[in-house]
């Protein structure tokens, strides 16, 4: 546990010292929210797709976030030093995933009100369930993004591959989060939100376990 907190503290310090990192992600997702509006046929359609657009913005921001996170670790051999720390690679993985989850949740909390206001989306459902969905969604995206980012950041010229590897992989998470958010915004009259949350939790549990098992192979062989 001490190791986990040690790595988490390091990640928090990095974010604290470079506030431009997470704030640029907020503006990035705001730009996505703005741009999607131009592709929408009507304001009614915009309202209906608010949940989906929100999660697409978070997913796109996650690729930038994970690139940034690994870039710092590749400078001056920081990753080698991290691997030599007396902590298991799995601990390192979970610390990185928790840090990315926190970053994405911050971006999501900033983007949420923006999309509610700009898309004139209703908020009729339970806010607590919506927040739970939001944190689980960010955690679900963070695990595969961290694992794949560790590979693509180390390979020269492969950062373009991160979206290609990540996007098809996170289809279940994106679909569940987007549909869950949409039904919650509408007040969830058919009680569908728990089912979508269930898929999201399953996806998150699967990729958190898998990442913990596989991460060591990537950084040790890297």
């Amino acid at each position: 546990m001490t190791g986990l907190f040690g790595v988490l503290r390091r990640e928090a310090l990095l974010e604290w010292r470079r506030p431009g990192r997470w704030s640029s992600l907020v503006f990035f997702s705001a730009a996505v929210v703005l741009l999607v509006a131009f592709a929408s046929p009507s304001e009614a359609a915009l309202r209906e797709q608010a949940g989906g657009t929100f999660w697409v913005a978070i997913l796109l921001a996650s690729t930038r976030a994970v690139d940034q996170a690994w870039q710092v670790d590749l400078e001056n051999g920081a990753l080698e030093a991290l691997v030599l720390w007396p902590v298991e690679p799995a601990v390192l993985f979970y610390a990185k995933v928790l840090a990315l989850t926190a970053t994405l949740t911050t971006v999501a909390l900033a983007t949420g009100p923006l999309i509610l206001g700009m898309y004139d989306a209703p908020l009729r459902g339970d806010v607590g369930t919506l927040l739970l969905l939001l944190v689980t969604g960010c955690a679900g995206l963070a695990a595969p993004a961290t694992l794949l980012g560790a590979m693509t950041a180390q390979a020269r010229g492969a950062s373009v591959l991160l979206p290609l590897l990540l996007f098809p992989l996170v289809v279940p998470a994106l679909l569940a989060a987007a549909k869950g958010t949409s039904v919650l915004l509408e007040g969830d009259p058919m009680g569908q939100a728990p089912a979508w949350l269930g898929i999201l939790v399953t996806f998150t549990a699967l990729h958190w376990s898998l990442g913990g098992l596989l991460f060591g192979r990537i950084v040790e062989d890297g």
């Binding site: 591959l161 098809p168 699967l206 898998l210 192979r217």
Partner: protein, 224 residues
């Protein structure tokens, strides 16, 4: 590169003969499908491609897990060869599905769970192969592609389940009880044809992967 083995040549020869006979049976012998008519004959390519692409991905997954446990490079060669075969069969599945969808459903593409998950599966494994292509160190390439193959494979059921909750218009899968016995026979016949071709392909793919590995692992030539 090593020459092809007898088993590899035999697999290609048997596969090719079975494929020619199987397609002849599918086109001229078996009766047309009751609802879809002549269009239904495309299923004799579509369904074996679907079965065998899953078989190829499963072999790739097994070999990737095997590589992660044993570190044997031959496992990596099997994993990449079968992933490549899976991607090609999956592309054939999507292409024939699209050709079949147009006269049957009136559209080239629809967001049905089977179609959507097949497309997602295809893109995921294309990503794995592209990742391989940018990593030059053979050891690192083998490890990374094994990791991404495992991730891609275990994701298949949850992707299918999530898109099934989303929407569905695909026909319910037939089974031998609901199909004419001649149709079942030709479907299985064609599946065996593709299976033998797949085995031949695995042999060729393994040889190519081994030769790339040998070339990239060789020490640099000494300057005179």
């Amino acid at each position: 590169m090593r020459p092809p083995s007898k088993a590899e040549r035999a697999a290609y020869a048997i596969g090719l003969v079975l494929l020619i006979v199987g397609h002849g049976l599918a086109l001229f012998w078996v009766p047309p499908e009751r609802m879809m008519g002549e269009v239904g004959r495309i299923l004799y390519v579509h369904v074996p491609a679907a079965w065998l692409s899953l078989v190829a991905y499963t072999i790739s997954f097994g070999a990737a897990v095997g590589f992660l446990f044993t570190g044997r490079r031959s496992m990596d060669h099997t994993a990449v060869a079968s992933a490549e075969a899976g991607v090609v069969l999956n592309a054939l599945l999507l292409a024939t599905g699209s050709l079949f969808a147009r006269p049957t459903w009136g559209v080239w593409w629809t967001w049905d769970p089977r179609l959507t998950s097949s497309a997602v599966m295809w893109l995921t494994f294309v990503g794995v192969l592209l990742l391989r292509s940018v990593v030059h160190d053979p050891e690192r390439r083998a490890t990374w592609s094994a990791v991404s193959t495992v991730m891609a494979y275990v994701n298949i059921p949850i992707t299918y389940f999530s898109v099934q909750m989303w929407r569905s218009i695909h026909q319910v899968q037939s089974n031998p009880g609901t199909m004419d016995s001649d149709m079942v026979f030709v479907l299985r016949f064609n599946a065996f044809a593709v299976l033998f071709l797949l085995l031949g392909w695995l042999g060729t793919g393994r040889r190519i992967a081994a030769s790339i590995d040998a070339r990239e692992s060789a020490p640099p030539l000494e300057s005179p």
